[in-house]
Amino acid sequence: MSSAHLPLPAASPARGFSASHYLVCFKGIVWREALRFLHQRERFISALVRPLLWLFIFAAGFRQVLGVSIVAPYKTYILYEVYIAPGLAGMILLFNGMQTSLSMVYDRETGSMKTLLVSPLPRWFLLVSKLVAGVAVGVVQVYVFFAIAWFWEVRPAPMGYITVLPALILAGLMLGALGMLLSSLVSQLENFAGVMNFVIFPMYFASSALYPLWRVRESSPLLYDICLANPFTHAVELIRFALYGQLDPTSLWVTLGCTVVFLGGAVIAYDPARGVIGRKRG
């Protein structure tokens, strides 16, 4: 074929990107995440089974052992199931955030991450879009969990289901951003088991998800300090208070601050000029 010198296309794309470019790209990324989630039914089921097992079995078994006194935001004595429900919502978001991380490592290994990263839109925007898409999937799972938990006597006021939404979104963003940051550090899928052992379990158990912090302080002041320093504790407390129409300012600021730090770290890590991704051979 005589193809050495072909005429150029008549028109070049206009300079810069409009808001609609960003919107289309954002919608595309959210749509793809939703499709992937729908295609992975077992992921949805396991995301629900995990907290429900804790609620149905663990909470029922420990109801008598781990009595909970009146602590804010609760105004009366509560069932242990009621106490751990916000922590289990946090658990869904935590696992969802790590799932984001896992899928990013998988995408990197299979090469489909390249499709995302060669988009002309700014990389921070691509990462934030992917993060928001992941959070949307996580929040849907939490609401399905709350719906099932309602039959298990976890029944906040109807308004609580609305006031908890911003808290779920912010907690989801923080945990998803942490997952993204971790995905930049994990080079191979096989190494991801380390994330389970060194991130998910310590974050979950060293938090207020399963027991109120005053109980922890009674048994170990050091563990209490560790729990206080754990961002997951603040995400859970943010959800807990919001579920009852209240705001815990400390939890809000810590969760917000951690979101900014984790997301900033992820954006830097995925920036070829500054981060670790561009230095890895692949």
């Binding site: 072909l6 300079r15 810069g16 499709l35 992937r36 090469g111 489909s112 002309p120 000029a273």
Partner: protein
């Protein structure tokens, strides 16, 4: 009225890149003229994929400059990348999505809404057997079909420069021929410029331009006829052999046998 000559589709200027102490690219410079089909010819390990990672900004260019249609990749990455379509050496389709979903997703990443993207799919695939497979999941396609979808995908957002990194690797002779024909057809219809990385000399046409890369260095560049003439060779195969010092089989078919 005089109009300025169009900038080269791609300018690589003094680009070097290292992995630790190992130099993968050493002061690489060449151009892909607008409207040209340029083959980046080099053996495995020559640095072709590293160069592609730099052009696509997966790696940052620390030494040298890269310009796409006159847009500096470091200064205007968005403007440069939007003019670029890429087929990577490794498969990059999402195997759990259908062909249509993969193509629409790629279009969205370039700011092309769903409806124009669907129209574009019909336009590019008019008369193609892939049109009937649009609803199939990518994982149900053969290697050759997956590659063809990736090539179509690279053209979705009407780029002016297409990069293909060894797109026929791992395919049988027949699939390779189909891929080469498909790309040349699309390039002709879309009026795009091409940089085609390969180590298979059979894929190079007499009328193409060629850049010979070996161990991270450019050994020769220009129209195939000029490179052959400069090396006092009878063919590009012979010229490549002389430049790299490698014994090259009489044909890639022979090499594969």
């Amino acid at each position: 009225m005089l109009t300025a000559a169009p900038p080269p589709a791609l300018e690589i200027e003094g680009v070097s890149h290292s992995y630790g102490s190992r130099k993968a690219l050493d002061d690489v410079s060449f151009e892909v003229p607008s409207g040209s089909f340029t083959a980046l010819l080099g053996p495995n390990g020559a640095g072709k994929s590293t160069l592609f990672s730099l052009i696509t900004r997966l790696f940052v260019t620390r030494h040298g400059a890269i310009r796409i249609l006159g847009r500096d990749l470091a200064a205007e990455p968005g403007e440069a990348l939007r003019r670029l379509g890429v087929v990577f050496q490794a498969r990059t389709l999402d195997l759990d999505l259908s062909i249509r979903q993969n193509l629409v997703y790629h279009a969205a990443l370039h700011g092309v809404p769903r409806r124009p993207a669907l129209a574009r799919i019909d336009e590019i695939l008019a008369g193609s057997d892939l049109l009937e497979r649009l609803g199939d999941k990518a994982r149900h396609l053969s290697g050759g079909q997956l590659r063809r979808v990736e090539i179509v995908r690279a053209f979705m957002h009407r780029p002016q420069l297409i990069l293909l990194d060894e797109p026929t690797v791992g395919l049988d002779i027949r699939s390779r021929a189909e891929i080469v024909a498909e790309v040349r057809r699309l390039v002709r219809e879309e009026q795009a410029s091409v940089l085609w990385a390969t180590h298979l000399i059979d894929e190079i046409d007499e009328s193409d331009s060629v850049v010979v890369l070996d161990r991270g260095r450019v050994l020769a560049k220009g129209p195939v006829s000029e490179v052959v003439e400069d090396e006092h060779a009878g063919s590009i195969r012979e010229a490549f052999s002389r430049l790299t010092g490698m014994a090259v089989p009489a044909s890639d078919r022979e090499a594969a046998a």
